[in-house]
Point group: C2
Chain length 426, copies 2
């Protein structure tokens, strides 16, 4: 029997109100409560606060120009369309919109998703999720055992690493170039037998963090290699509609729907605050993803699903998304122009994205993005050091710049400040 | 290297569209895709479709009176209040409501939760979740390792069993009586050393499925025993506000806030379709619950959180919840009256709830609720067999009746039909 200690172990944050509560509470102990055995699950050692969210706290300081966050431009949110849809949905179907609903999602929204995807998808394959982050959580629950090998790009989306981590995989990076993953390295990292990779997670369009896009040829090679290797692909496509001049090549999933899980999102084409994304999965995986979804949050908010279904019927996205493309193209061009001007003579490299929200910058040899960050913040500009996006062997010289949250004027000022910080550190 | 088969393994549901898609897709394979190795995680063998949701499909048949579902009465949903709040939030803070937001939740909503709970709670302890189902998922992720001992009531909430299952605990039932868990049996089931129970999951008020309420004396004994045993309590309280004549005793958490995780919900006092619940946790558990939340869906929909904060300011719940109580009290009374009348001479037992949405019925010796269900459905009434709510050693004679979804007239008709089915089977 554990001995009870006379007072609780002190905590800095919550101590006082708790002690007061213990005295006030109707249910009373004779003494103050003893320390409790909080044995946390082993997986919690793999959980960490998001580096990005920590940096975002810095960027809330007035006067800071944030090139750090992945927040879509609030100028693109169709507020009045949502106001009209809210009124219409509540007037027409208020009780149903506010009631419990099917775990699969609202049928008209599933039908809309199936209809707008660029390959043949049945509505029964669509699972509506609470943002695409939940899709990653469900994939992790259904496909990852402890120590399972999971392949990712170099670098890869931080939120995916965070979603996979609680299921305790061994995450292995596949090398890439400016067209995407290298097929030879994929073969080398596959693993065999029980250690065979459960899947490759890949974000082919305007990738977060690099902004790069996988070429059509590389997609064909990857789909063929995955089929030959009998490797599942988990394709994440939150940014695919945000192309500037020409649409990206067809999704990988279109080439082998039975071997892929496809993840999409309404966060970048409508608004993230509704938290709606979706999975398209074949019969081999759908039922377990659905059961995992049911256990995770029963269903995504039915009210929100009806709002989105109401907003997007009658071709709204076809009118709205081009305005987002035009804005982001302009902001990307502004950042590229500022980089061309400000980084002269600095041995800094960056790419020229064809869409999306981010570009990827590499500092001169020997310089660390982590060391640069405080210098940049001192000059009122923030970015995300690239190291957060690597599963292993991070390149300390890399950093991610977002060009969609700030204005064109802020981008120019911010890049000038960044160049100043680089010169200071060089 | 695996050999590639010449055609995909046929699936009944999705075969045809996929084959068509494979032919149409821009990215093409030379042959049809070979079978892919879908190695699902071991935990998926613990996932199952919800029995209740399967029964709900039956109840969608026209003419069926459902005493099965746990759906709050749609008559209680404050549709016009949500319409006004939607208009106000989008007009005032549209861009912010539709943007990404903090994982902890919307600050004014966290403050409101802290303020209305009946013990001293700091807003920093409140974590807004996507329904209380997600709270259970987060608790499982943070507190359960494979084969961890987890204690539950006999019977217990099915959704909790489903939320815990993916983390692969050994779930152990603690015996109870009409006042709640039996303290002696709790001691007997605690386990020791590495097998010590990680927590006891308990739903003290108008429990789902039984409708029973833990007495003040039993609460005091449980809090004292848990403190002595240094056992974490996970207290789930979705129905606590739905009392009929007198409020239930204070929450267990009020007696030992450092040793409890408290889970609440807006689903039963406002509407489930917004998917908003909350956790109150001490500093020992909060940071990891927050990190698990972030990895699960980044944050709960900010729009919904602002809607609820808007609706409940100025004391709305104090005016609204009494109308729900009055309605459910009336419906509960109708069911009890119908049972008193219809079950005469049938050796059927049931309890008389003091609040909530459910009551628990026990069939005559030798009779199985599972066998009764088709007979009842043939008479156009549905219920949930009790077996689904037991972690082990289910009592096959038990069943759950909900009195909130149907009208008073439907309840009378439904109970008469149920009595007829029992007579048929007896």
């Amino acid at each position: 029997m554990p001995t009870s200690s006379p007072s609780p172990s002190p905590t800095t944050t919550f101590n006082t109100p708790y002690l007061r509560a213990a005295r006030r509470a109707t249910v009373k102990l004779n003494d103050l409560p003893p320390a409790i055995d909080w044995t946390l699950a082993r997986r919690t050692t793999r959980m960490n606060p998001s580096v990005i969210r920590e940096i975002l706290k810095i960027t809330e300081r007035p006067g800071i120009i944030s090139l750090a966050g992945g927040l879509p431009s609030a100028r693109t949110f169709p507020v009045s369309a949502f106001a009209a849809a809210s009124a219409a949905v509540l007037a027409r179907d208020g009780a149903a919109a506010l009631q419990y609903a099917a775990s699969e999602g609202f049928a008209p929204l599933r039908e809309a998703v199936a209809a707008f995807l660029p390959w043949k998808v049945a509505p029964e394959q669509v699972l509506i999720t609470t943002g695409s982050q939940q899709a990653l959580d469900l994939v992790a629950k259904v496909l990852i055992d402890t120590d399972s090998r999971v392949l990712v790009e170099t670098p890869t989306y931080l939120g995916a690493l965070q979603a996979f981590a609680p299921m305790e995989p061994r995450v292995v990076s596949v090398a890439g170039d400016d067209q995407g993953v290298l097929i030879d390295d994929l073969r080398a990292r596959m693993g065999t037998g029980a250690d065979k990779a459960r899947f490759l997670y890949v974000l082919p369009n305007f990738q977060n963090p690099t902004g790069r896009t996988m070429s059509a040829a590389r997609r064909a090679a990857l789909v063929a290699a995955a089929a030959e290797l009998r490797l599942v692909l988990v394709e994440d496509n939150p940014y695919g509609d945000l192309w500037y001049d020409t649409p990206p090549p067809a999704p990988l999933t279109a080439g082998n729907p039975e071997g892929c899980i496809y993840i999409g999102s309404f966060s970048k084409v409508l608004a993230p605050g509704l938290r709606l994304g979706y999975i398209v999965a074949p019969a081999a995986a759908y039922p377990k993803l659905l059961q995992a979804k049911q256990a995770s949050d029963l269903h995504s908010p039915g009210y929100n699903q009806r709002l989105v279904a109401e907003v997007i019927r009658d071709g709204f996205l076809e009118r709205h998304v081009p305005t987002i493309r035009a804005l982001y193209k302009q902001q990307c061009a502004a950042m590229l122009a500022a980089l061309d001007e400000q980084m002269k003579g600095l041995s800094v490299q960056w790419n020229r994205p064809d869409g999306g929200m981010f570009l990827w910058l590499r500092l001169p040899e020997g310089m660390s993005a982590q060391a640069l960050l405080p210098k940049a913040v001192a000059r009122n500009v923030a970015f995300v050091p690239g190291a957060a996006f690597y599963a292993d062997n991070a390149d300390p010289r890399t950093l991610r710049l977002s060009f969609v949250t700030s204005t064109v004027e802020q981008i120019a000022t911010g890049i000038a400040a960044l160049a100043g910080a680089i010169r200071e550190l060089a």
